[in-house]
Symmetry: D2
Subunit: 95 residues, 4 copies
Amino acid sequence: MECLEKTTIRNEELQKKIKIRLNKIEGQVRGVSKMIDDNRYCDDILIQLSAINSSIKSLANQLLTLHMHSCVIDNIKNGNDAILDEVVSLFKKFQ
Amino acid sequence: MECLEKTTIRNEELQKKIKIRLNKIEGQVRGVSKMIDDNRYCDDILIQLSAINSSIKSLANQLLTLHMHSCVIDNIKNGNDAILDEVVSLFKKFQ
Amino acid sequence: MECLEKTTIRNEELQKKIKIRLNKIEGQVRGVSKMIDDNRYCDDILIQLSAINSSIKSLANQLLTLHMHSCVIDNIKNGNDAILDEVVSLFKKFQ
Amino acid sequence: MECLEKTTIRNEELQKKIKIRLNKIEGQVRGVSKMIDDNRYCDDILIQLSAINSSIKSLANQLLTLHMHSCVIDNIKNGNDAILDEVVSLFKKFQ
């Protein structure tokens, strides 16, 4: 993964892996839509929504790890410390 | 909204409203996939993932409110207090 | 536990149990203060703060369960359904 | 703030500021204990517990910001990239 100014070049394999996870999340959302069609019980639907939240957090954690070890390191080594405030801001958004 | 045993009958209008929100969430997820194709910056992608989380929580809150005022009330009035433990369990899942 | 209008009568044993947990949480907070005196490493302090958050959530979950099986049930059986909106509001606060 | 190996030297003024915030949080916890003595309504107590959680998160965000701009930068400039995994681990703990 390579970090240019506000662009992140991911190799084909990584892009593919991330998109597989996003496709699964999309499938989970469509699954809930189907549950609504089928008049499924509210509690089951809410459990499913919390599962989607978990999938998103898990993907976010993976992307943050990659981001830290590429863009964040590169920027700090180049003296652009402001990138750390972006990370703190993400920290708050996911709290 | 009517609450049968582990089935929730929603009227057509409500079904439609919920599905519109789910379609929007599905669109948000597809949007992130597109951002991966476009080599968009990690931080922007993570912000977008946290926005999806917020959409899901907001939908969950609406569904929980409806659930409370139909299934939960009906069950308690019929002496089935165990439904409250389901609600506590959801409380933990979304914490 | 008995639920009067906006007052909750807890028996002595329950009061004692809850206060023991609150004392432990108070001790955890004092422990962090001591860590600041000792110039302890930021990451260790942050881990400790997240542990306090977990203790608070765990106590909140216990109190919510008791609340559900006393005040919430009583109020619904007396036709005061508005108490459910209080629960949804708590749900959002702890999300 | 100065970052030694697993020790963080904070100047007197910063120590004082952090301890004032911790004292306030300790006071909030004692306040909940007093509410239990006074048989205060569960919902009010739970709202208070969520307020303590918010105080802790807010302090954690401040400490993380300081940590980022001292220990994290120093470590990365010295080639110790492993510190970023600590940050990701905190990210998960506060999620």
